[in-house]
């Protein structure tokens, strides 16, 4: 072996080791978070947690039924608001990529993506809470939706752009109008990816606390009204975690565990959806 070749092999070995180390460093916090959440949360989780309401201070037991329902309602509102807006916006960007308007929208989406979630919360507070002087599920859902929009816009745009140009030409050559080609061929071809993007965005906002603090606020009682304050898992976990009661701490861990599981479930769902749709696309 020449000296040169030996040197190259040594360099290669060093860099491979560094890469492997970086992976371990990145995984340690993740593993620790999961370990603690499971260790503390799993034991505190029981059927009551899902089915019962919070008990008054001093009484033990109770659950977070209202917060679980609340979180589902909030992300439902967020999706109902952000998915159509985000997808249509992404379609526009991919169809008219070169226009001045598109580059402004793209830039705006990137900025919005970087805006701290608490700022989005203040905005929703300003336009949806202050005028009616009441916290509401709508305000919380819209705040979460605003956080979702940029993610949905950019994933939609990028995935549509990956669709081969030949498909568009094929549709147009058969006499399809431009809109028809987009909605009957191009969007369906990118659908698995777009769906994943939406689920990932949902998973992300499901874990948001800050924008809900002064929009959806919180609610110790069962409420599904969209115009009333509503409980959410994240805010409930926050409230319980900073309380002085051991029983509430246990519940906070259980809530945290449930949140992690929900997000995990969304991610798995995203993968299954992709696999299913891709199978339909392929064979």
């Amino acid at each position: 072996m020449t000296a040169n070749l030996r040197r190259r092999k040594i360099y290669s070995g060093i860099f491979e080791t560094l890469c492997a180390l970086a992976v371990v460093v990145a995984l340690i916090p993740l593993a620790m978070i999961l370990f603690y959440v499971i260790k503390e949360g799993f034991g505190a989780l029981n059927l009551d947690f899902f089915l019962h309401m919070p008990k008054p201070v001093g009484e033990s037991g109770g659950g977070m039924a209202n917060a679980i329902a609340g979180t589902l309602i909030l992300i439902g509102i967020a999706a109902a608001f952000a998915v159509p807006v985000g997808c249509l916006c992404g379609i526009h960007l991919s169809e008219y990529p070169g226009t001045k308007f598109s580059s402004i929208v793209r830039f705006a989406a990137d900025v919005l993506n970087g805006v701290p979630s608490i700022v989005v919360g203040i905005f929703a507070y300003g336009i949806l809470v202050l005028p009616v002087k009441r916290f509401s599920a709508i305000a919380g859902g819209v705040a979460l939706g605003l956080l979702m929009i940029p993610i949905v816009v950019r994933t939609t745009e990028e995935l549509l752009r990956l669709v081969p140009g030949g498909l568009r030409e094929g549709a147009l050559a058969l006499g399809a109008t431009r809109g028809r080609a987009v909605f009957s061929v191009i969007v369906p071809a990118a659908l698995p990816g777009i769906l994943t993007g939406i689920l990932v965005a949902l998973a992300r906002v499901a874990g948001e606390t800050a924008p809900l603090l002064f929009t959806a606020f919180n609610n110790r009682f069962w409420s599904t009204s969209l115009t009333q304050p509503i409980a959410s898992l994240t805010v409930q976990v926050f409230t319980y975690a900073i309380s002085p009661y051991d029983d509430w701490h246990r519940q906070a861990w259980a809530g945290a565990f449930l949140l992690v599981m929900m997000i995990l479930a969304l991610s798995i769902l995203a993968r299954l959806a992709v696999r299913r749709l891709e199978r339909m696309n392929r064979s």
Partner: protein, 253 residues
């Protein structure tokens, strides 16, 4: 020829932005014959064929000047509806582009956008189109399987069936066999031979043997100009231009 030409091109120029890529093309394309466009890469034959169904419209900054008449109507006329035009002028591309849908849905696509909903009518036309594209026997038991599971040659025949389903008058083929192996290529060529009884076919090809095998008339393009066109045998055995002779005998290109 006594018949009026199906497609009649006069002084047609084409520009991509400031670059002029076609220079004063004038060419008559007869009905129910195969006209092959040959020439070296970048000579403008694809641009030309894509001008006939205005496929170049989707490219920004691209524009044509001059006239292309189909049955006497100007393709670039102000009252020409491009959607209607493309229904009459089908196109098959170099790279087969089946939609990521079932075989059935691929062939039904053009019919459905035309508003056809009747299941039995669709079934009939789909069977007929696939039969004409010599694909029916290979796919009749799996019409609802994904088109992407087909082989390359089958995919290209599916694209031909898809184009035939809407019953066009003209079929444009932009190097339809360039990505296929010899067996698949010969199937496509046989198909072209059979289709010319009913359709006016314009085919772009890099492959001179292919042009010699399938075409009735041949047009030789070079650097954006039409050098010579005429009966296939004349072009291949006794061309007027030196450039054509050099090209068809393989001295360059």
């Amino acid at each position: 020829m006594n018949d009026d030409p199906k497609i009649s091109v006069r002084d047609f120029d084409f520009f991509y932005g400031a670059a002029k890529v076609l220079h004063g093309i004038s060419l008559d394309i007869p009905a129910r014959k195969v006209t092959a466009l040959i020439g070296p890469s970048g000579c403008g034959k694809s641009t030309f064929i894509r001008s006939i169904n205005r496929m170049n419209d989707i490219i920004t900054d691209a524009r044509g000047k001059g006239t292309i008449l189909i049955d006497g109507t100007d393709v670039y006329g102000s009252d020409t509806d491009v959607v209607e035009l493309r229904r009459r002028v089908g196109m098959v591309f170099q790279k087969s582009n089946p939609f990521p849908k079932s075989i059935y849905d691929n062939v039904a696509y053009g019919l459905r956008i035309g508003g056809m909903r009747n299941k039995r009518q669709l079934d009939d036309i789909i069977e007929r189109s696939l039969t004409r594209a010599a694909l029916w026997h290979e796919v009749k038991d799996r019409l609802h399987a994904s088109a992407l599971a087909l082989s390359g040659g089958q995919q290209q025949r599916l694209c031909i069936a898809r184009a035939l389903a809407v019953d066009p008058e003209i079929l444009l083929m932009d190097e339809p066999a360039s990505a296929l192996d010899p067996i698949a290529t010969s199937k496509i060529e046989e198909l072209i031979y059979e289709l010319k009884d009913n359709y006016t076919i314009v085919i772009v090809t890099h492959n001179m043997q292919q042009a010699a095998r399938v075409s009735d008339r041949t047009a030789f393009f070079m650097l954006g100009r039409l050098v010579e066109e005429g009966d296939k045998n004349t072009i291949f055995t006794n061309p007027k231009e030196k450039m054509t002779e050099d090209y068809v005998t393989g001295r360059f290109g």
